[in-house]
Symmetry: C2
Subunit: 233 residues, 2 copies
């Protein structure tokens, strides 16, 4: 029987290819097969981060995911996991490229759930955009006894208010079409003057603007609001 291949979940970091770890870089450049999530229109941030390091002889498996967020992505992961498993069964290692940190809201987790019981699996941590945003905004995030809350903007208003009112430091993620709701809650809670906004942290088109100047209809998914520790003030 052939020795099974190894499944890697590679944290690709937030966007700047220089923020890849030495370990992820080594695995990325030596593994025979790579896989990465792409939207149905073929765009893949994970592949874009890796682009300069991918060699033409590497086999690529795009994991196509539905553009429509209402549509379940689970059947898409079923299909991708089956494809990846074929290579692993033949003894070939497969690295699944994942934006940011694979275990933190990562698409890799759905591949991990499907394959990690059958195949040797290793997750290589990456820098999350959530963490990188503080460095890009040039502001310390948490001191000493501060609690840091990472809160998806997709929650309902009641839960958002409950979490924000007791928070020391906060990163609000998955902003997109929820921006106006979030801005209004922050205003109401007296937090708006502490809120910093960043789009596509560390990517080539990173953008930092005052939160009061953000156009709510043009907020991308890869944007976030950071409320740093009050000990900065």
């Amino acid at each position: 029987m052939t020795k099974l291949g190894k499944l890697y979940g590679l944290g690709m970091g937030p966007g700047d290819p220089e923020l890849l770890t030495l370990k992820a870089h080594y695995i990325l450049t030596t593994v025979p097969v790579i896989a990465y999530p792409t939207s149905e229109n073929g765009q893949s941030l994970a592949r874009a981060i890796a682009a300069d390091f991918i060699r033409s002889e590497q086999i690529e498996i795009p994991i196509s995911l539905p553009f429509n967020v209402q549509k379940s992505s689970q059947p898409y992961y079923d299909k991708a996991a089956k494809k990846i498993a074929q290579y692993l069964e033949f003894g070939q290692d497969v690295a699944v490229l994942c934006e940011g940190e694979p275990m933190l809201y990562g698409s890799f987790m759905y591949i991990f759930q499907r394959l990690s019981a059958q195949f040797p699996t290793e997750v290589v941590p990456g820098i999350s955009s959530i963490m990188a945003s503080a460095a890009m905004l040039n502001v310390p995030m948490t001191y000493r006894n501060d609690v840091l809350s990472i809160i998806p903007a997709t929650l309902d208003e009641l839960k958002l208010r409950d979490r924000l009112v007791v928070a020391d430091a906060v990163v609000i993620i998955k902003l997109g079409r929820h921006f106006t709701k979030i801005r209004n809650i922050l205003d109401e809670l007296g937090l708006l003057h502490r809120a910093l906004y960043i789009e596509r942290a560390t990517q080539t088109d990173q953008r930092i603007v005052s939160i009061t100047e953000v156009e709510p209809t043009e907020v991308p998914y890869w944007s976030l609001i950071l409320i740093p520790s009050k000990f900065n003030y």
Copy 2:
């Protein structure tokens, strides 16, 4: 007038030198001066992570910090900042090595506060042990709408209970001598069966044991408890 040197805050990652980013590795190996926190007995995790990459011609500035946590470290940072400033004024770049992510409970923040207004400053994000622990424990941390709370064990029991009772996923940091208090609260809240324990994530002496087997008097500062998303169950 001499051009001022640049101050770098370099995220060194959680412990494994291979988890340094390409960017941090490049700056670490090309900068003329490095500084790093050390305890009064001369131990420095940040320097240990960098050890294999440091060249003998690089100038080293140890930032000595008090072993006694009751003692204020602020005068120590004053002294270190003055020393670092001397090199920056002479046009030499200085990289301050920082375990994990510099802007997240990082010692670099105290140097940043003292020098970033006078000198060009760049923070290079690093992988936090908080984030790397999920990969080492082989468990997804947060899905979809989960809120992730990062909670220092140093908080009082009332505040700890308040934060934990509403939490989706949690990382409890700075455990050390607070382990028993935390274990009791988790037990009381019915969270103990979901709690995973890890010491020195990604370091050569990393240790993972069941939380019920942890000897409370032997819990190091570099240990944490991860309560992953309930969607893993």
